[in-house]
Symmetry: C2
Subunit: 333 residues, 2 copies
DNA sequence: TTGAAAGCGCTAACAC
DNA sequence: GTGTTAGCGCTTTCAA
């Protein structure tokens, strides 16, 4: 079932069928009618691979994220998919599973499959460099959320420095004098900026930094980190976390061990995933404008796909603070 | 930068380059070395589109799910991606956003892009029929979790009937005499089987069915349903939910309105998403063997990609009950 | 407006 | 083990 079958049935050339079906060039109404009918009768659907080879474009965009289980990335992916769809493009989604080697493989695969462009949230600030840099040299590429330095590409994400200012100011205003920070090992831009922001703003507000614990972005690491804080001696006034998953793990251990939040300890997260409002107690967190990040990423990529070469853009969008019970009034208080 | 450039540089034919790089046929060590070096020097990476056109296969599998924000599907997707990767295939992921029209469009697009096969969790038991049936006629297709009846394809999912037996027996054993069920509108196989299972097993155990509320699989619908139950008068002894998102919404409203779970009301979910253990109180739920479902789906698809045509397989895998505080002892009790 | 024909980059016969 | 060559299905010159 190829374009030739349709051409024969409609009594025209393959060129005419192509033009009629794609609408690329005008075709007489009578012929259009015939071709449309013939294609319909035959149940013809064009071979996108052949078309892509000929046109050397696939109308497909690849996206690589460290995890599709993390609701933050899920929301980002949904936003990107939606925005792309409106631009008539498809999304080819890959998970790098936080593994630079797998990430490199995914990028090679996307380039081999001739996607028109790539949106990536790189795993690692250093170990992702070569693969991302190579890919950016092959085709238009936009980094989201995290970025690797030294790659000539656009970036869109949240203003991490501002975000930590919102968190620390909120805690300091509540009278916090000592605070710990639980984050991921310092391997990418976002993480580094969040830790740096925490250090800077606590210093500015005269809040003593109790501990900075580095692990990974997961509930399990949050649980582990909270256990370590408990084992280390007297708790600080607050624990700020670099993402909501960590914070949810921290809250879970608090509930298990009888640490009352917020009476004994204030806890904050980052991302405002849907489950942040459902924990015990509901979590105060930083809301990222994911839809705007996704939309901007697609916009930048579309621009990069166009003819004119613009200099790399970096846009840091403003986050907002969502205050819930984990730093607020306890229900029984 | 094509295979011809590599061939010229290596001083061999394009066919030899193809053979050397793909390993499809033996090549002398010296030539292999030359070709590899030439390709490396040039930074050559093969054009997968051209290769796909020639071989008429893409080594790519398409997957369509109703939502990538639902952690249940996220876990399923991760499992499928992992299993495919081991089989040397890539995943092309699409979200149908629970919209049959969008789902049909995604299927058309996947077929046009010549994926080798499709794994789909259909949106709707009836309205997905035509598109899924058409796609199944074009290429190998496996349905997961949900299915549309009357399509000649494999299916893998959980044994919903058994699952509801586990839930109802657990509740009945705890002394529950009246129970409500909160689910999605009856539009697909899973949902129907869960409601039917609830009805049947409550009847068997002599538990009176208070109400069956049908909406959608979301936290918001869980909230809304619980509000309706509160407004309707005396609460039943238990509320069973058709998925964890609904149950989390129910629990949230309970917490807000002072309904003590499990003292005043028992609540159960379905799926055992990661957040089911983090709610207030932690949620008793049915654990689906997602990894096994994903693995089995890929296995069935691989079989369907092979030469021999087997009759459609239906495998319903056994779930297990995970008991947590929402039906257990209250911490203060 | 339409058709003939070239060719996108690759791989698989088929020869040697 | 290697080269020559045809052709996957489509789009797009070019000519009519």
């Amino acid at each position: 079932m190829t374009i030739r079958d349709v051409a024969e049935r409609a009594g025209v050339s393959t060129a005419t069928v192509s033009r009629a079906l794609s609408g690329a060039r005008p075709v007489s109404p009578a012929v259009l009618e015939q071709v449309t009918r013939a294609a319909g009768d035959l149940g013809y659907s064009a071979n996108g691979i052949a078309s892509a080879l000929r046109r050397s474009r696939t109308d497909t965009v690849g996206m690589v994220v460290p995890s599709i289980a993390n609701p933050f990335f899920t929301a980002l992916v949904e936003g990107v998919e939606h925005a792309l769809q409106q631009a008539g493009r498809q999304l080819f989604l890959c998970s790098s599973r936080s593994d630079p080697a797998l990430e490199a493989q995914r990028l090679r695969s996307l380039v081999a499959r001739q996607v028109d462009g790539i949106i990536i949230s790189p795993v690692h600030g250093v170990r992702s460099h070569d693969a991302v840099s190579w890919a950016a040299g092959q085709l238009p590429l936009v980094q989201v959320d995290r970025y690797v330095a030294g790659v000539d590409s656009d970036w869109v994400g949240v203003d991490d420095h501002l975000a930590l200012r919102l968190v620390v100011d909120h805690l300091a205003d509540l009278g916090v004098r000592t605070a710990a920070f639980v984050s991921s090992t310092l391997t990418n831009s976002s993480t580094e900026l969040r830790v740096a922001g925490f250090q800077e703003h606590t210093a500015r507000r005269g809040v003593a930094v109790d501990q900075v614990l580095l692990g990974e972005y997961s509930i399990d690491w949050g649980r582990e980190a909270m256990r370590r804080l408990l084992a280390a001696g007297p708790l600080p006034d607050a624990v700020a976390c670099a993402d909501d998953l960590i914070a949810l793990g921290v809250l879970q251990v608090c509930a298990e061990t009888g640490v009352s939040v917020p009476a004994d300890l204030l806890v904050t997260g980052f991302d405002d995933i849907p489950y942040a409002a459902l924990s015990d107690p509901p979590l105060t967190t930083v809301r990222q404008p994911q839809d705007r990040i996704a939309g901007e990423a697609v916009r930048l990529l579309s621009a990069a796909l166009g003819p004119d070469r613009a200099p790399p853009a970096r846009s840091a969008l403003a986050p907002s603070l969502v205050v819930r019970s984990s730093t607020g009034i306890t229900p029984s208080g």
